[in-house]
């Protein structure tokens, strides 16, 4: 088995998720074609970095990503720093001949994401983008049913990504609420996942029309932040929220299916409802990430007296990845999607092929994100062709 020596930029929420995946892979997927070596972790704050390095189990730490890239004992650069940092790091790393694994959204703009793809292609390196939800076994099952024609022709895709973590007007103005760092709000953070899921399962977008809203225009400046949680004070000075709290849009896919999308952080009671439904001529599927081990499946050709959505617990040996984990009925969680993602990454590098999803998928997602933003601003239908 070959080895892939990893240098990772970022050590917060995603850095933790990726680190866990690198650690878990060899134990649960001993037959992976390559094994990650956790060479170096990189971040600007030396103390935070050292704590993360020790906790997550990286061999060394770097406080300057340029130094990380310059190291010749690194094969792959994993980029999960805030979104505004993705572009420069990725391009420089590509130039240095490093393979790339970048969190979504690829960049703040479509233009930037294309530059990243171009750089990676020019350098001839492998590139992957972190749409981890594809790798839930229940989602893989949906994909399989569609690919095998068991849902027939697709008519409808409807998806919502509902959260409620900033519902409190006094929740502080963290970086995810600042356009210059995050690019956009619920749209780029949550909607991007829905868009990728739609591309994965249904196909390319033809045209979109969208609307967005920022319900709370000003928030207290934060004092600290960890993961998605943050601390602030009601009485802190306030700053302007420059991203969307909610973005909705409709689409027509190239294959004629209709799509409905909604991403919001103002849906009380929903911690992480990343959910979609697909209706085809022969059946339907429903997925909700809060019950990520389940896929509801309906077939029109079931006997007429027992037609109904089946609650399939996608933990059997017949389901993707599950023979690597526990016996049937023993569920897995959020983090496992990253382990499966890293499995694809390692296999692709070892097999000298591009992993899926890769920067091309990141660019296509960015096209849709940007088409929706243009539609929101100009209040009109926007064809994807306009951006291509």
């Amino acid at each position: 088995m070959s080895k892939v020596r990893v240098g990772m930029v970022g050590y917060k929420f995603m850095g933790k998720a990726h680190s866990n995946a690198y650690r878990a892979l060899p134990m649960f997927f001993p037959n992976a074609a390559a094994k990650p070596e956790m060479k170096a972790i990189c971040g600007r704050n030396p103390e935070g970095l050292e704590q993360a390095r020790a906790q997550f189990g990286w061999e060394s730490g770097e406080t300057d990503w340029r130094k990380l890239i310059a190291r010749d004992d690194i094969d792959l650069i994993d980029i999960n720093a805030p979104s505004d940092a993705h572009k420069e790091i990725a391009i420089e790393a590509a130039k240095a001949g490093k393979h790339l694994f970048c969190e979504k959204p690829l960049a703040l703009t479509l233009e930037d994401s294309k530059a990243m793809l171009d750089a990676a292609e020019a350098a001839g390196v492998k590139h992957m983008v972190g749409f981890n939800y594809r790798f839930a076994p229940a989602v893989q099952l949906a994909k399989k049913l569609i690919d095998e024609g068991r849902l027939g022709e697709i008519y409808h895709f409807r998806a919502v990504f509902l959260q409620d973590w900033i519902l409190d007007p006094d929740f502080p103005l963290v970086w995810r609420l600042q356009k210059e760092i995050a690019g956009s709000g619920s749209h780029g953070d949550l909607g991007a996942h829905l868009i990728d899921m739609a591309r994965f399962l249904v196909g390319e977008f033809k045209e979109v029309v969208g609307m967005g809203e920022t319900f709370i225009k000003e928030r207290p400046l934060p004092t600290s932040m960890t993961g998605l949680s943050a601390k602030g004070s009601k009485d802190a000075p306030r700053g302007e929220v420059t991203v969307d709290d909610a973005t909705l849009f409709m689409t027509r896919f190239e294959n004629g299916a209709l799509g409905s999308f909604e991403a919001t952080r103002f849906a009380a009671g929903h911690r992480c409802t990343n959910s979609f439904e697909i209706n085809g001529s022969k059946g339907s599927v429903i997925f909700d990430f809060e019950r990520m081990n389940e896929l509801q499946v309906y077939f029109t050709d079931d006997a007429e007296d027992v037609q109904g959505f089946r609650r399939v617990l996608a933990t059997d040996a017949a389901h993707a990845y599950m023979d690597a984990w526990w016996p049937a009925g023993h569920t897995i969680g959020y983090e496992h999607t990253f382990t499966h993602e890293v499995l694809e990454l390692m296999n692709a590098i070892a097999e000298d092929r591009q992993p899926v999803p890769n920067f091309h998928d990141g660019v296509k997602c960015q096209e849709v994100l940007e088409a929706v933003e243009r539609s929101v601003q100009e209040r009109r239908w926007v064809a994807l062709q306009e951006l291509q």
Copy 2:
């Protein structure tokens, strides 16, 4: 279409449910083999009776059930007065040549119920007992799947009937909490339904072992009561609760299946969870009356990647009774089970056959009830044979 002239004893909760069924039948089942005529309603309190008569739409009222029975313009006596009154009325009505429709439990004791069956058989009249839950379309679907062998050999039946209406220790001592009127508590009221369901779907009981409890031993005497609700006062004088608050038992069926039963009025959050699950060698079904239009169905021979319980909404034309009501997906409610029950009663009378379930089923249910009571008292397994 022939007519069946009905005289009904009782005008409370069950009287209302039966009246509605008689009214609804001709509209929704115009092809029923006989049509009920609501001739007379009978109750002891003249005012209450007249109000019920007018409200429910009966032609006339009687305050003495003996007079009702004596009337020659009555074909069928419907008995839904409190349980302690069933026996005498049924026997006298049978002697007078009237068909019988009696609410469950048939009587306070097995002996009494046998006397009622004997009287009905001796008189050659039709007799039905009111196990209405059999007539939910979703339950009929379970029956069909079993009869057609689609669940295979039955291994398990587990059922609970959970309510919470007397959870408050100050809820008054209504008649359903008094042994001399109600016979038993949760056991006869709720457990009887489970037992009948088990007999309907699985078969006869071989032996039982049970346990019971009265959590609240004394309660305030009531001031008034309607349906299952009642009014009382914390400061009212208290009387002894003489029935069980909860009764559990296990059984072995004649066919080797194992059964588990629990009836309680102390299950907070459960208004009317009348639920069962059946596991067979080829599949399973789950029913919960709070979602009475649904049956969950599992088949072992589904394709291995899409095995799961199907949520079948039993409102399609393929489901029992449903073509009489509304289009698929338009649900029905509690009261409809009585309409279907009355349909069976009318058809049976017109076709000169015994309806199902009839007094024989009432007696068999009473056997199990009494076997469980004996088991609770004597703290031992009791074979049904002991009571036969």
Copy 3:
């Protein structure tokens, strides 16, 4: 108690539902301020009419609606004939001084619906439109929570009405698929209910943008039709489907909330999923008509360790209408919404006030329907003001 003498035009699906409501009202709501008298039913086919008359329990039959209107023993005209007939009947009936109860959609066009409202207002009669879903107790609970401020400020309304009864390309071309009779397809049939629900719960629409599709362009001509089911033949001559199979739209409400709507008849597995979710600053509610006795309710101020959507079974005495029916936990069905609707109608007539919803609500719904249609055609946002 006063009486309202009813003449009803139409005797199919809706005629049956209305008839049942008139029959049920006096039994379950004896305190209604007026009692309906089922005077006459009207339809063009004498045989079908007579069968319906006898089955549903109407005193007499008329084959010409003009004769019905001319009768002086009729106070109220109930119009549930196909949508293209609504306008003329309603206007003539108003001129004749009859109160009006008209099924939705009020008319084929906004203009027609306004003419109907004007006629009713000019005649000074009472007028009601049949948005029956408002009258589900669980929906009434949602309304109550919003009105009492328990959900706070409303941010989101998202609703779908999903059916699958025409998924089969060989399902025949029934009247609901013909624009000249039905006005529109899923949009007017299903979407109209969603729009009314949104107006009822959230408020008026400000602007909309929509999209629509007819997936199956031609279908066999039908040979017969009942309710939503119909018979045809694959080999029958085919005609063009002139209505939408699916229509989606987004909206901004006057109060700033965002709305998402989807109505389709191509959602495999969904017989009648009429579902909405509302997210507010203090909580959320979720309703699904296939489980119409339930409302899921979330409050942000629940203790932090037990926050979650509550599954409220809206069958307690604390819930609207439920003390009229059965004890807590004993569910009701689709038809009960009509009984509650007729209760409002009878009370309003007796109390000399307009019932709610009335023709004004019908017109407002039609405005939104037509704004969406314009948006679909012209591929742009349409402000409701354009149509007012």
Copy 4:
């Protein structure tokens, strides 16, 4: 932070789960009072052992557990070999002064389990038993609600552990179906978990009455086995199944609550339904391991119009362990219960206190198991006192 040097006996299903927990602990719980060191793994088959050692990440391997115990670089012996091996290893390890972590059931008999407890106590070592389900955050929430009196007085506990992995009569005769190795079947394997859960949440058992069944009496001898899956051949020679396929029992707890238990491997459609419900005077909770991140919670003092079971997703920072993992709404899986279990073990060792649950809990569980077995054999109620 101190270190605990671990030697582990067993490397199959449980060995994998424990290994993962040791690996995950320092990353996710860096503040644990002690850190496990994966010193040595032990098994009889040298090839299988070496593969597991390398895959799971242990420093060394031993093929003789006596040698493992003799090593002075080991502080803790983790025993997850088949149940018949537990006793001897545990007693010898205790004599050698090693702390003990033993999978459930502690031993094949009550007598053996007592001997193990005695040995551990005599040696003054720490001892833990592997009832991992206690450590699901949703279960911890149930415990918290009960301890804080938020469910009031407990009336009912009902639990089922339903699986279907041996439903096929040709599934081979693996060790779990042989009494001399496994001790018992569904009873000791699944029922033991339910019993421990009941003790954890409700309290001690007073008396029990049970029944059991072996539906399939003979099975083909196996050719190989991994985890819960195994390979066999229809045509292989057959052996007798010497354990129960299903065991049911009822109990009265010391505090007066009633309990109902069912463990079966013949429940088609249930891969791993480890579920319980508790009803108290102030509320109820429902847990199902197939949706292990959720606890349904009901409170009687909720406002009367919004009473209902709340679906609490126990992934908030307010829930046990969850701040160590991912943001709210991001679920965890089966394996995480072991990580939490190991956290308790490490903390207890570092703090010089007995972990919970420990061998005392193992013995108490065994008492109930054996009381039920005696009840099944002797067909009578058995008081726990008889075995104490």
